[in-house]
């Protein structure tokens, strides 16, 4: 499937193309809330492909809030490394910042002031936390999105909006300029309308960066595998429709791959381990928001510090408060061994066992355990029920393994996505896999804003 980026850069653009693009984007955005910021100057970079950033990636001079009231008015004085690299390449033009769950805390995109809506039907959730990135990718014909995954925030919304969502190996893409959720888990990735575009963006932004000590994975491979593994202990988590459709996918894939069922033996506690580690880290990352240095500014600076601080921090959303409280509890000395240390051990076991299996083949699973829910439906879910929907996306995220989501079926007009996981630093093999799949599958899009 040809790259939209290459096609766009080669094509003649009519006079006023970018102005018209911005106008129609504004119009669509009023319905779908995909963007928090739309940059009117997108046309001033010359012949360049529009790219958006999730609102937790710093863009110099552009209000970057991570979807939080606490950061209202925060204008970073620097670009994230990924933004710098895309702009420096001369092939990309910044079009805006996309909507998200506050600080990345969410699976459906509803932990936002105005939740993004599914590009296929606005009564349905967009998925989260990179909700706006997925919706934007499904709406704009020529556009790529920088998104972020901590525990599945690229895979889930990409799957629910029928786009390609690629999360690289942890440490291949610099996180400098990414507003932290959980530093040992956060990864910047790409959403695009096909695999080629994901590859081009990945190549433009990856590689060592002196500003991020964890960004140290240099060589990326493309080792093709003949085997696909289905994880036995996760099978029961998918609902009936998902299972039926996924089994259809396996039938199609079995023509080219040997499909085997395996048991890892630890993945059914991956979600618990993930939330413990992620909340512990998040609670420290959110400590700095105190209402006077940047973002939200309290008017009266003359109150006592404790009261000032309490007043400022009341402005976090409900989920953020929950994670601060739980994360702080988890870190406390009296329960650390019980939760944090144990979760870290589970993580180590998962990395080891998955790593061994992934040497032999890819792991394949549905990206999401249920059909896309309506916005009104998820409001009734408890936090734990919501966390449980991360069952397929958490394992590769916990292990820092590269994974990619692609649409494979449309059920009642809504896309369904599958996820392929690869071994560390074998990212190209996953992009190749989707490239191969695209040869036999027709992506459907409801919107094609910016068509030429």
């Amino acid at each position: 499937m040809p790259s939209y980026i290459k096609e766009f850069l080669k094509a003649e653009k009519p006079e006023g193309y970018y102005e018209a693009l911005v106008e129609s984007l504004h119009k669509a955005n009023r319905e779908y809330n995909a963007f928090n910021v739309i940059d009117e100057n997108v046309g001033q970079s010359g012949n360049a492909m529009p790219f958006s950033t999730k609102s937790n990636i710093c863009v110099k001079g552009v209000e970057t809030t991570a979807g939080s009231k606490m950061l209202k008015g925060y204008i970073p004085p620097f670009n994230a490394t990924v933004v710098e690299r895309l702009l420096d390449s001369g092939r990309f033009a910044f079009i805006g910042e996309t909507n998200m769950d506050e600080f990345g805390f969410g699976t459906f995109g509803v932990n936002a002031a105005l939740p993004a809506r599914n590009a296929f039907d606005k009564n349905y959730v967009a998925g989260g936390s990179s909700s706006g990135a997925a919706v934007a990718t499904a709406m704009l014909k020529y556009h790529v999105a920088l998104a972020v995954s901590t525990g599945g925030s690229i895979s889930a919304p990409a799957a629910l909006n029928g786009v390609v969502g690629f999360t690289p190996t942890y440490g291949t893409v610099s996180r400098y300029g990414l507003i932290d959720y959980a530093n040992s888990l956060d990864k910047i990735g790409v959403m695009a309308r096909n695999s080629d575009d994901a590859r081009i963006v990945f190549d433009a932004m990856r590689g060592g960066d002196g500003k991020d000590l964890t960004c140290a994975v240099g060589n990326i491979g493309s080792k093709k595998k003949k085997k696909l593994f289905v994880i036995e202990e996760l099978d029961r988590y998918a609902d009936k429709t998902v299972r039926a459709n996924f089994s259809g996918l396996l039938d199609r894939l079995s023509a080219k791959y040997d499909i085997e069922t395996r048991n890892i033996g630890a993945l059914d506690v991956a979600v618990e381990a993930y939330y413990i580690l992620a909340m512990a880290e998040a609670s420290t990352n959110l400590a700095r928001y105190d209402g006077y240095k940047y973002g939200l500014q309290l008017k009266d600076l003359a109150t006592r510090y404790n009261e000032f601080f309490t007043e400022a921090r009341a402005n976090f959303g409900e989920e953020a408060k929950r994670r601060i409280l739980l994360g702080t509890f988890i870190r406390s000395e009296s329960v650390k061994a019980k939760y944090y240390t144990k979760a870290a051990r589970i993580r180590a076991i998962i990395i080891k066992r998955m790593g061994e299996l992934l040497k032999e083949g890819f792991i394949v699973s549905p990206a999401f355990p249920m059909q896309t829910p309506k916005i009104s439906e998820v409001e009734r879910l408890t936090p734990v029920q919501t966390y449980a929907t991360d069952i397929f996306t958490v394992p590769p995220n916990l292990g820092g393994f590269p994974h990619i989501t692609f649409p494979y079926h449309y059920q009642d007009g809504m896309p369904m996505g599958a996820q392929i996981i690869g071994e560390h630093a074998n990212d190209y093999a996953l992009i190749d896999f989707v490239g191969e799949w695209e040869g036999e599958f027709d992506y459907r899009y409801k919107h094609n804003i910016g068509s030429l």
């Binding site: 990636i57 620097f78 507003i179 040992s184 000590l213 512990a280 404790n306």
Partner: protein, 429 residues
Amino acid sequence: MKIGLEVHVALPTKSKLFCPCSLDDAEPNTNICPICMGFPGSKPMLNEAAVESALSIANALHCRINNSMSFVRKVYFYPDLPKCYQITQMDGAIGSGGYLDIDEKKVMIRRVQVEEDPAQIVREGLLTLLDFNRSGTPLVEIVTEPDIASEEELRAFIANLRSILYYIGVDINKEIKADLNVSCAETRVEVKNVTGIKSLIAALRYEVARQNALVKAGKEIARETRGYNEKKRITESLREKETEDEYGYMYEPDLTVFNISGMRYVPPVYVSKIAEELAKGSDMSPKTIKEMTMLDRNSLELITKLKGKYKMRSIIHAIQRYKKYNEDEPRQDTIEKMISLIDAGKLLAGDAVHAIKAGRSVSIEYARLNGPEIDRVILEFLKANPHVLSEYKKRSKTANLIIDKIAKAHGLHPKEVAERLALILKRHK
């Protein structure tokens, strides 16, 4: 009595610990960047010069040093802490389980850890101002076990620590900063942020007296954190001691596990040991040599080079003479010339030292005056300086000054002047 110390040492680097900002003096809030201001999206880098310096300290304190180290976040809310957590070290510290020798005893070192300094709080009237120039300054914290048992040991510990740090190149011009733990009975009381050896000793004395008085009165000593009030010279209760629980220490994921196995460090110099060696078979005590060289690398090198070639007493005397009249460090050839003159019985005054330093020849010939002539010179001097006599009556050492001045002014042998002066002074008594 059990005393433990947490000594904070600022490392002599040009830039901050986690960002490239300069550490030079500057207008408030000008040496800052998104990293040391804790801006969302920023990430720490690691200043390798600071790590090398810390490694040198850990090594000099005989610490166990692993191939890698890691950092933790110490979370507490205070306006001077931009991220509301301090990046410091715990289990993954650069060094642990070491010791420092003080005379006959080893003081165990629990940990040597690298950490960042918070911003500076400046109070101006009703205003609380923050200067982030200091934020991110590299510090090393040296945590001892409560092995120090007396004021003398505390002094010795600090003196030896200063010497070790000096030879590693850690600037100790600034006063020592430390937290002091004192337990006279069972309860440990922490005295925070004491600056300077004088304050440290005063805080210790006050705390010992306070705790002993409480014990005597049958009262309980509260487990607490106290501050030292420099003006009143007392310790004051600050707040109930936070338990380690409340800091919520967590591994710092942005700095990863940092490999230090191939890093350079400065080899340690233990002056106490070297002084023992140098004093062996010499006419000087190890104590004198130690005191002279603890914070003086040049002297140590000179003594080491010249040992055996000259008498130790002459070497020491020459260096002391030189230092009396000069700010700079002596060269070896200057000291050797001085030694040969000293050994020839000549008392070297400032002029002579300067002449030797400048490479001019100094005559060993003395003016030839007979007894009465010397007496005349002495009497003239006493007449011109009547106060010296009354001073002499108070302090007989004043005689040395008089001898020095007269011998220098007339090119006389100090010994001759001394003999005649003794007779004259006898008459004046």
